[in-house]
């Protein structure tokens, strides 16, 4: 068995045919983490005891013939998603010692299906960033080139799947944080429709944008994970009451003859790297040869998506992160003589620089005298962006676009230039502003051998269309798909 090419679907077959036990499979991944993760640094904590316990229980279920798709499948979880009794640090000094008192609904659903949790993965502090360099604890490396970033903020999750240190992972996507690292690490990352997956137990960054999403080696594997974690949850008031009439994993079959795909012109500007553009057009040719109809369309408001996103998400973050006061949980500054000193110092010493920038930007956007010019203006742009997508989806089944304007960059290259980092989110943030589903799949490699991602975005609850389109594309790309030589 070649672990570097193993998928959840294939592992399911091996487990059910008793070719491998759940404990053996889990042990294989734990051993590989021991040998390889020193180079990738994708995990913040490995929950070995829990994993082996999960695996033994899973084997009992398999032996009783009652396994579901994820029974005994080793997965990892981004470290901003809570698992009771384990640390959830959000890669922040302020939560360095925080032990979750409860388990997130999405993780509970994986555990109900008897999946195996290997550990918690690295991220940009509080999921704020696009390179995982903003982690207070580790710099995760891209498995395709360890001198480069894995993307972010779910960089640990993407790198660990890419390096075959888990069969799949849960990330969170506020402005592209699942799709962009998946693209940088040559794997598949999917952001569901806002409200499809419960946010209960996901540490809040920007509540009207945040969604938990799967990262895996294939489109079908992402659909299998989504089947487990989706669905209404009374503990999340924004959770949709949507009854899915069939599994997402069954939506990957079927061809795409006649599928109408729109390509926004505003995403084909000079900021797009030439090799990525070339790969995009080759992908378009492939999709057309499969019978899809592709045409360009214009949505001028998309060029304002980045500032609108940063104003709204930072405003929400500044409010959400006000809970870190050094009192109830988290880092507490020493020797403070007053309550205000305790809060101010605990926050100043506990938060990293990027988190402080976002809190300042959000506070500024909400401050008296600036609210209308910044925050409210951004909310109006949110209306225009949502309306623009509604109009596009009246003509097209799926919107196609690059996932990121560049491939993975060198570690340290952009750390002193936050603006460059923000602008690189150009193709992903509009999806979160409008609450749409989107999936990034590998579509090529640049001249340095670095992966390029292609995104399929759907209408609200249009998961099945994007899974089907992405799976068809993936099947055509299969013989070109590479795994990193880590």
């Amino acid at each position: 068995m070649d672990i570097t090419r193993l998928t959840i679907k294939e592992a399911r077959g091996l487990l059910d045919n008793k070719e491998i036990s759940a404990v053996e499979l889990t042990r294989m991944y734990l051993d590989r983490i021991n040998i390889i993760d020193g180079k990738v640094e994708s995990y913040l904590s490995v929950t070995e005891d829990m994993a082996l316990e999960n695996a033994q229980q899973a084997q009992n279920i398999i032996d009783s013939g009652k396994s579901s798709m994820l029974t005994g499948i080793p997965l990892s979880i981004k470290d901003n998603i809570c698992i009771e009794g384990t640390k959830t640090t959000c890669a922040s000094k302020i939560l360095e010692d925080f032990v979750s008192p409860y388990t997130a609904t999405a993780v509970n659903r994986l555990l109900t299906d008897n999946a195996v949790i290997l550990g918690k993965t690295n991220l940009d502090e509080f999921a704020m960033g696009g390179s995982t360099e903003n982690s207070a604890f580790k710099t995760t490396k891209n498995p395709f080139d360890v001198a480069r970033v894995p993307g972010g903020s779910s960089g640990g999750s993407a790198a660990c799947v890419s390096a075959s240190l888990a069969l799949g992972s849960l990330g969170s996507d506020t402005g592209g944080s699942v799709r962009q690292p998946a693209s940088f690490c040559g794997v598949v990352g999917m952001k569901p429709t806002y409200g499809l997956v419960s946010r209960y137990g996901l540490v809040a960054f920007a509540s009207s944008f945040d969604q938990i999403g799967p990262i895996a080696k294939t489109v079908e594997d992402c659909a299998i994970i989504l089947d487990s974690i989706c669905g209404n949850d009374p503990k999340d008031a924004t959770s949709l009451k949507y009854e899915n009439d069939s599994n997402y994993s069954s939506s990957v079959s079927g061809d795409i003859k006649g599928l109408k795909i729109g390509l926004p012109k505003e995403y084909l500007t000079e900021g797009l790297n030439a090799e990525i553009k070339d790969s995009l057009y080759k992908s378009i040719d492939n999709l057309e040869s499969m019978g899809a109809k592709i045409e360009e369309f214009s949505m001028p408001v998309l060029k304002h998506a980045v500032p609108a996103y940063y104003l709204m998400s930072s405003a929400e973050a500044s409010s959400n992160l006000s809970r870190y006061d050094g009192v109830k949980y988290g880092y507490r500054a020493d020797n403070c003589k007053s309550f205000n000193e305790l809060i101010g110092k605990s926050r100043a010493e506990g938060f990293g620089k990027e988190v402080k920038r976002r809190i300042l930007l959000g506070t500024y956007a909400l401050a008296s005298g600036y609210y209308d010019a910044y925050y409210k203006k951004a909310l109006k742009l949110r209306t225009l962006i949502s309306n623009g997508f509604n109009e596009a989806f009246s003509k097209y089944d799926v919107v196609l676009h690059p996932t990121a304007p560049e491939t993975a960059f060198k570690i340290g290259q952009n750390t002193n230039n936050p603006l460059t980092m923000y602008l690189a989110d150009i193709y992903t943030v509009a999806v979160n502003i409008a609450g749409l589903p989107s999936i990034s799949v590998p579509c090529g490699y640049d001249s340095k051998g670095l992966p390029i991602g292609l995104s399929f975005t759907g209408k609200p609850l249009g998961e099945k269309e994007i899974f089907r389109a992405a799976a068809n594309f993936e099947a055509e790309f299969a013989d070109k798909f590479r795994v990193p030589a880590i």
């Binding site: 010692d97 032990v99 008192p101 409860y102 806002y194 409200g195 009207s208 008031a237 924004t238 959770s239 949709l240 009451k241 304002h304 500032p307 609108a308 940063y310 104003l311 006000s322 009192v327 109830k328 949980y329 988290g330 880092y331 507490r332 403070c336 007053s338 309550f339 205000n340 000193e341 305790l342 101010g344 110092k345 926050r347 100043a348 938060f351 620089k353 402080k356 920038r357 300042l360 930007l361 506070t363 500024y364 956007a365 401050a367 010019a373 910044y374 409210k376 203006k377 951004a378 909310l379 109006k380 209306t383 225009l384 936050p418 603006l419 923000y422 602008l423 409008a434 609450g435 609200p460």
Partner: protein, 97 residues
């Protein structure tokens, strides 16, 4: 950030956000924020006069449920993440002399 004393403004915002930053950090963040606010300023002149604001794209309204009492968290468990507690409460520095 058009203020003639930009660092004063950062100090004002940091105070609102309850971040006790030292002068070096204020200076460094002020430099970053100047560029960042510059990007945000690009939306200022877009005409949105007759456009409604969208606070939330959630497709859920008035998520109602029966008011049934459920289990709460154990006090001990909730207090266990606090660095300082006293008599089953979170402890903070004395506020009233």
């Amino acid at each position: 950030m058009t203020n003639s004393e930009p660092n004063d403004y950062i100090k004002y915002i940091a105070n609102l956000a309850k971040l006790s930053l030292d002068d070096n950090e204020i200076q460094s963040l002020a430099d970053d924020m100047r560029d960042i606010i510059g990007l945000m300023d690009t939306i200022k002149n877009i005409d949105t006069e007759h456009i409604d604001a969208t606070e939330h794209i959630s497709r859920v309204t008035n998520n109602m449920r029966e008011d049934n009492p459920g289990d709460s968290f154990e006090t001990e468990k909730i207090l266990s993440n606090s660095k300082k507690t006293m008599e089953n409460c979170f402890a903070i520095p004395k506020m009233i002399e």
